[in-house]
Amino acid sequence: MPDKDDYQPLDRYRQLAEKSPDFISRHSPVNLIFIDVNPAVEKILGYRSDEIIGRSANELFHPDDVGSWKNGTSNVTYSEGVYTSTYRLRHKNGDYIWLETTSRTIRDPETGKLEEIICVSRDVSERVQADHNLTRLARVVEATSDLVLFCNANFQINYLNESAIRTLNIDKARFPTLHLDELLAKPNYSQFQRDILPLVLKTGDWRGELPLEPESIEQRKAIVQQIIAHRDDEGQLSYFSIIGRDITEQRKAEAEAMQYQLEMAHISRLMSLGEMASGLAHEINQPLGAILNYSQGSLRRIEDGSIADLSAVTQVLQRISRQAHRAADIIRRLRSFVKKTEYQRMEFSINGVCEEIAQFMEQEARNAGIQFQFRLDASEPTLLADKVQIEQVVLNLIRNSIEAYSNDDKADKWISITTQQTAQDLQVSISDRASGISQSQMNNLFEPFFTSKESGLGMGLSISRTIIEAHGGRLQAESDGRSGSTFTIILPRQGNGL
């Protein structure tokens, strides 16, 4: 308690305290009962002085902070008789306010008995909030699945987040001395210095794809997607952020999708083959029948002695071998058609593909009384794509056209095969003059298992569209619903996509 002699200065102190924006309070040592508070309490905690005096500060502590005073946890520091702590008190409206409080204990000078505690507190909610945001931000950077690296202006790496360490398989002890060139393959580092760095410095932000290939990486694939240059207030380059991504799963999924697509194309070919079986049997039996006839005719002549000299036999043997070759060619075409192939991107003539497939389907078309009509682009356009898959699509479309005529007794049946190169793309159209596709059929045309055929599985067009889209193209159908339809494959000239 102040003495009367000290009244003057005390009064000034009191005035000072009354005006202070800081919240000043006196507490009894037992239960931290508020003995006295300055008016700032109302601004900070919402209580008038008379509402709070006599209450225990313990009631207002955030439950998580209750122990911190007693236990001396991390947010309480002690220096030269003054404790500083950061903690939360409950505002009258129920919200918790972050306070930074310096407190000093007042002891009886003789007995050393703790008499009271004086606290000066200020609202540090904003600062705490900002600290929290920073902490959260740091946590996000640490926890994100993207790879985050910071490096200085000399590309010395000084931070890698958890993902980067894991994906790049970096020994944590290494990274004070880790340099960016250790994370990139030589040609890529050269490319970075030559092409990318100038862009980063110029625009402050580069986005693209640059493979990360440190020696330590094991069975994972990662790329840099973004590099940001950070500058200080004077515009001096201070550091770079490098953001990358582990694309192992993505690549795996892509590879799986491609594999799946190959399987589908293969199945589709087998299905096509099944549907063509009767035509193929006929086609193979022709040369076999001819061989049999030639040889049996020769045997008969030899038996009845009507062959005198070898020249007659020679001629027939030549014909026999020609027919055997013909049969072998059919088998060879068949085998290469059903062969399971890896994805193979190559440059090939689209006209050539159209002609080969038409030849393959020739017998089937002839049996149905259909003729092919070619209108092929004379500039002999080439395509960079998977030839086997493109062949499959052309084959599916030609088969569909042949089958479109199956209930058609027109005398003049033709299928026209057109190729045309434009500035942007390459188009292949297969047209027929059969009865067309109705509007309702058109809506479901490309759905799997949709079919208008008695024996069709309904996968042909669905697979065809998948294949063409995987090549960055489109497959379109047009029909007036009465007198024919046209299917057009449109592929970008540079063979984008897979």
């Binding site: 009767s278 061989i291 049999l292 005719g297 009507s306």
Partner: protein, 214 residues
């Protein structure tokens, strides 16, 4: 009356050049004349009712085998036909048999089987040719009869006695006898039964007789 084997032809209709050529080579060892055609149209253009049998590929561009059969039926050409195909397609086989094909042979075939089928077909061909000949002979004889003789024959084969014939035609029975003797001679009939038999095979007369029965 039977044509010799060399007068019988095997007509091969197949669009496959090699197959046609080989079949012709095989059959050249037979006594028959071998004629090949690359399409149904070519065969129809050429064929003039010569005796023989037809080896017909069922799957061809243009006129299919089945369509050719129907065209032959329409033209009243009864040539024994063997269907050849590289493909044992049952519905097509059934249709071909319904169209009157003798048999169905799948390519490639054993020469022995084919030759047996051709021999059987040639039996039909001979029979058909024989009937054809008889028919034309009969028609020729019938056409050689005078109008009166035709009337007399018609009544006689319907079972009328000379007297009734005379009354019907309002001529004397004696005259009827003269006509009747001439009819027997011109028709080369050994007996009345023979004449009746012949009458039923003459198309022109068949219709008239059928009308009278009704």
């Amino acid at each position: 009356m039977n044509p010799p084997s060399s007068a019988l032809s095997v007509f091969i209709v197949d669009d496959d050049d090699a197959f046609r050529d080989s079949l012709s080579w095989l059959l050249e060892s037979t006594p028959f004349t071998i004629l090949t055609f690359a399409s149904g149209e070519a065969f129809l253009q050429h064929y003039n009712g010569e005796p023989g049998c037809l080896l017909l590929d069922i799957r061809m561009p243009g006129i299919s085998g089945l369509a050719l059969q129907q065209e032959l039926i329409r033209r009243n050409i009864n040539i024994p036909t063997l269907i050849l195909t590289g493909h044992g397609d049952i519905p097509v086989a059934v249709s071909a048999m319904k169209n009157g094909a003798l048999n169905f042979i799948e390519k490639p075939f054993d020469d022995q089987v084919l030759l047996e089928h051709i021999d059987k077909a040639m039996v039909h061909a001979r029979l058909w040719h024989q009937q054809q000949n008889q028919q034309s002979q009969l028609t020729e004889r019938w056409n050689s009869l005078s109008k009166r003789e035709k009337q007399v024959m018609q009544l006689v084969v319907s079972g009328h006695a000379n007297k009734l014939v005379a009354e019907t035609l309002d001529i004397s029975p004696k005259t009827v006898e003269v006509h009747r003797a001439r009819v027997m001679a011109k028709m080369d009939a050994a007996s009345l039964a023979d004449l009746v038999n012949q009458a039923h095979r003459i198309d022109a007369l068949k219709a008239i007789l059928a009308e009278q029965t009704v």
